[in-house]
Amino acid sequence: MQGFTYHRPTSVADAVVLLQSEGASGIAGGMTLLPVMKHRLATPLALVDLSGIAALGGIEVDGETLTIGAMVRHVAVADSPVVAAAIPALAALAAGIGDPAVRNRGTIGGVLANADPSADYPAAVAGLGATIVTDRREIAAEAMFTGLFATVLAPGELIVAVKFPVPLAAAYAKFRSPASRYAIVGVFVARFAAGVRVAVTGARPSVFRVPEMEAALSARFDPAALAGIAIPPDGLNGDIHAEPAFRAHLVGVMAARAVAAAGSGAA
């Protein structure tokens, strides 16, 4: 790894200023950034450590909205009684990320900014229709992810928190990679009064929703409603663990499992 200067601001405003400087990069838990730096694929001149900013922490419910600060670690979401009460599917999702070391360091803001095609949180963000709050604006879930490792975030733009609408029921079903434990396919299903949302991660360059499934499930929230809805393999990701056709198949299986789990009260 190459040398860099290190800052640990305590306010969002200070962090945003520091992030304007040439070659600066924010660092949350370092779970993605540090390996990338060790491989010399990124060589930031300055690291702005976000862990000293109290405003990026905290988990709160306000009416029908659960807000999670950008620097909240996966382990904190997994263990939070507040999350468990409001959206237990989200706590379960966090508990299934990577391994204990990753969960102890990794953050929700880091995952969303990084936009890994196999990350879990994007499925929850899209599936619940969350809003990403940054230092300068609010971004709707639909607008956030623009492709492989790509988001609408401007250079130096800081995620502050994520606001999740609380659903009637929800569940996340993940088929994980035997190697990395990222999602090969993860499907988040959420039922709201207004209808059902189905979001898929791992299968394409970024998270996507499945309108056919949403329509079928909005009519009848039952795994059987998904029968006959197939995702075409064209354009799906393929790697040594899962070819596109297998991923396409898994989308159906995981969607049905998520519906079953949400319906059975395991929401």
Binding site: Q2, G3, R40, P178, A179, S180, D239, H241, F246, L250
Partner: protein, 795 residues
């Protein structure tokens, strides 16, 4: 008797205090004054001409000490990396043995082939400088698979070996086997792949070299399983350093699994660089570097046929295997798929005629060599899969067909048709106990219960025999070994009765400091904490062959037992004089020398003191001091064996295999420390289950890139894929070493791939599926289920 730290005691491992408190001393921990840091520039191409290397930018950086290349080594007359085995083909001609330059020049032959060494004052600087070295390659078509490499017109890894064939080897009686097949009632067939693996010891490889001008001595610290052999190979064949001027130290080493039992190019390059530059040079492999430079394991493509009579008796076995050697011959490379494979094909069965041909093939991949089990898991996998196929073909029970063909316990010693003479074993005893422990008979109910949940459940078993305790030098020499395979041990008894053992094996996690101490403790009647076991430093320890092939206990332990016996013998002579008795009247028991039938005795420590303070001592007939040495060369291999049973459940929706239970009953001879044996089994079985269920080194056919080149893609087995294993030993003594020991380091890895896959195939058998290649990973299983269509019949 009554010795709480002797043979058979599950004492805690002496070495663990330093390991679990972070006080181990690994190569990467070592710091020397003036030390510089080296980083290799490695080929990103699988196959390319090396047109030129421009290090101008690197050399211009402040703090960069040197950039050295293969051409510099050539100019210094550095030799190539030698191969330790020279096998002979069917045609009686020696294998093709192309040169293996320590750093490539002219051509690179696999992704990761080193082309330059960058040395700088810090490791970060060395990395940065290495990134700036411009290498001019002319990319050539690459070949990574054995089938493709043998096709006419395939790219030639070496110009002068146009067919990529290193050796066409055979074992067994071809005519007798053909005859057996001619008279067969049924022939069972299988085609299979034994997947390539990356060893991935927890500690990556590392090397530090230092040259001292004052004494003209060179020291190499290396993560090696056999420092003496590195000293001999590197000093004598590569760098021309006289043996008395070279020291090789392998301190604490964090796992080997075979990966560290070869003389690697990096060791020679770093040592050459330190001598050339006059500064200590340190290299520590990165994990991603290890993926493309640590020798890899397995990688066979095989076809086999088993001839049976109408009762299911095995009449003959015919095997054709293509074995991938990678881009160069590693130290033991050509020995593994031949001598450690073909002679194991009899297994525990009485098959009278066996013929096996192995084509050893060069490809543009990382060299392949021994990896835990080395040849024997491949043989066991092939044989035990084929036996299951035969049972299914003939509508026979899998257990019954094995019993019908098993070598009877009374038939030992047993001569197989493929060289080996098994000295002892009880395969049917192991099988009985494994079936009982795995509740084989109660399986139908469990399968029905799984079926209710929509899951396919399967049970599998495999028997195995392995040859370890490498090896009788006499036989090894005949098979092409260029070294001996004895082991050495010195027992240094101090004046106080404390003992230092100097042993030629090397421990990298197996607990030798404890096991060997227990042998001495048992024999001398002193507690294990009065015994220190020293290994891994060629300046301290007499020449030894190191640790691999489950040899440390059976060969090294036997040398140690002999040395202890010599100490006792000398002790009796001393006692006879001091007690004024005849030597035949002296008995040694419970740590005391006494005159038989009297109450006159001397404690062991009193004898030791007398040996070193010879005031009243028979100098005319006995030398002072108490230190004995033995070199032990076994007269045969040892043959651990056993039977394993596994149960799996498959989720047809996702193709996921869940390993539900694992039972291992192993005959490993005398058990010194049951806890350490259980640990070896747990690790070995998990490694085998890893091969069966998730691990695979996957190369891109076109580019020769390693697609599973990091832990993000290479699926190591984790604790959560394993059930609680049931481990039992069911031992018969080895008949040709004094301790009766056989070895336990590899048995888990040898028995488990076949056992797990037999269970997977059993689970899928209602679909008409008869074989599943490894790893039995979800995508593969899902494909097989798709292709099979609906279940043929509910079981």
């Amino acid at each position: 008797m009554g010795n709480v730290t002797g043979i058979g005691a599950s004492i805690l491992r002496k070495e663990d205090l330093r390991f679990i408190t972070g006080r181990g001393n690994y190569v990467a921990d070592i710091k020397l004054p003036g030390m510089t840091f080296a980083v290799f520039v490695r080929s990103p191409h699988a196959h390319a001409k090396l047109l030129g290397i421009d290090a101008t930018a690197a050399l211009a950086m402040e703090g960069v000490v040197a950039v050295l290349t293969g051409a510099d080594m050539k100019a210094d007359n550095v030799g190539g990396i030698p191969c330790g085995w020279g096998i002979t083909g069917k045609d009686g001609l020696p294998m093709k043995e192309p040169p293996h330059p320590a750093m490539a020049y002219e051509k690179v032959r696999h992704v990761g082939d080193p082309v330059a060494l960058v040395i700088a004052e810090t490791v970060d600087l060395a990395r940065l400088a290495a990134d700036s070295v411009v290498v001019d390659y002319e990319s050539l078509p690459a070949v990574v698979g054995v089938l493709e490499a043998l096709r006419p017109g395939a790219p030639a890894v070496f110009e002068d070996i146009p067919d990529n064939l290193c050796c066409d080897w055979e074992i067994g009686d071809r005519a007798a086997t053909d005859k057996a097949f001619a008279g067969a009632a049924h022939v069972a067939k299988i085609s299979l792949v034994n997947n390539r693996l990356v060893g991935n010891p927890m500690e990556p490889r590392a090397a530090i070299a230092q040259y001292e001008r004052a004494t003209d001595r060179t020291t190499l610290w290396s993560t090696s399983q056999f420092p003496h052999v590195v000293k001999l190979l590197m000093g004598n064949f590569v760098l021309g350093i006289p043996q008395h001027k070279l020291r090789v130290v392998a301190p604490d080493v964090g796992g080997g699994f075979g990966v560290k039992q070869f003389h690697y190019a990096e060791e020679a390059v770093v040592t050459w660089a330190a001598r050339r530059l006059g500064v200590p040079v340190k290299w520590v492999s990165e994990r991603s570097e290890g993926f493309v430079s640590d020798a890899q394991g397995r990688d066979h493509v095989s076809e086999a046929e088993l001839a049976l009579d109408e009762t299911g008796k095995f009449l003959g076995l015919r095997v054709r295997t293509l074995a991938n050697m990678g881009g160069y011959l590693s130290t033991f490379g050509p020995n593994i798929p031949t001598n450690l494979y073909g002679p194991l094909l009899a297994g525990v069965y009485t098959t009278p005629a066996i013929y096996c041909e192995v084509k050893v093939v060069f490809t543009n991949t990382v060299p392949v060599d021994a990896y835990r089990g080395a040849g024997r898991p491949e043989a066991t996998f092939l044989l035990e899969r084929l036996v299951d196929v035969a049972a299914s073909d003939m509508g026979m029970d899998r257990v019954a067909i094995r019993r019908h063909n098993m070598i009877q316990t009374s038939a030992y010693p047993y001569q197989t048709p493929v060289m080996m003479e098994y000295d002892s074993g009880d395969p049917s005893g192991c099988l009985d106990r494994a079936l009982a422990l795995g509740d084989w008979d109660g399986f139908a109910a469990r399968r029905a219960e799984s079926a209710k949940r929509g899951k396919y459940r399967g049970i599998g078993l495999a028997t195995y025999v392995e040859a370890c305790g490498l090896a009788p030098s006499r036989i090894a020499g005949r098979l092409g070994a260029r070294g001996g395979l004895y082991e050495s041990a010195t027992v240094r008894v101090h004046a106080t009765g404390d003992v230092t053992v100097l042993i030629g094996t090397h421990c990298h996690g197996q607990g030798h400091e404890t096991t060997f101490a227990q042998i001495v403790s048992d024999k001398l009647g002193i507690p294990a904490d009065k015994i220190e076991v020293v290994f891994g430093d060629t300046d301290k320890v007499q020449f030894g062959m190191g640790t691999y092939g489950s040899r440390s206990l059976s060969v090294g332990g036997s040398a140690l037992a002999k040395s202890v016996d010599k100490v006792i013998l000398k002790g009796r002579k001393i006692a006879a004089h001091l007690l004024e008795a005849g030597e035949p009247d002296i008995v040694f028991e419970d740590g005391k020398f006494s005159v038989a039938g009297t109450d006159r005795s001397l404690r062991f420590d009193e004898i030791c003191l007398a040996a070193y303070i010879p005031h009243n001592y028979p100098l005319e007939v006995l030398e002072p001091g108490l230190e004995e040495q033995s070199f032990y060369d076994p007269i045969n291999f040892t043959f651990p064996g056993g039977a394993h049973v596994a149960e799996v459940e498959i989720d047809p929706d996702t193709g996921t295999v869940d390993l539900l239970s694992y039972v291992a009953v192993d005959d490993i001879g005398t058990v010194i420390n049951p806890m350490i044996v259980a640990g070896q089994l747990h690790g070995g079985i998990t490694q085998g289950a890893g091969q069966a269920l998730c691990e695979s080194a996957v190369y891109d056919d076109a580019s020769g890139q390693l697609l599973s080149g990091s832990f993000m893609d290479y699926a190591m087995p984790r604790a959560d894929i394993m059930p609680n294993m049931k481990i039992l030993t069911h031992s018969t003594r080895c008949t040709h070493n004094d301790l009766g020991v056989k070895g336990c380091g590899e048995v888990g890895t040898i028995g488990s791939p076949a056992t797990v896959i037999n269970a997977v195939v059993d689970a899928l058998s209602p679909l008409g599926i008869t074989h599943v290649d490894m790893p039995a990973a979800p995508n593969r299983i899902w494909r097989l289920i798709q292709a099979a269509g609906l279940p043929k019949a509910a079981e």
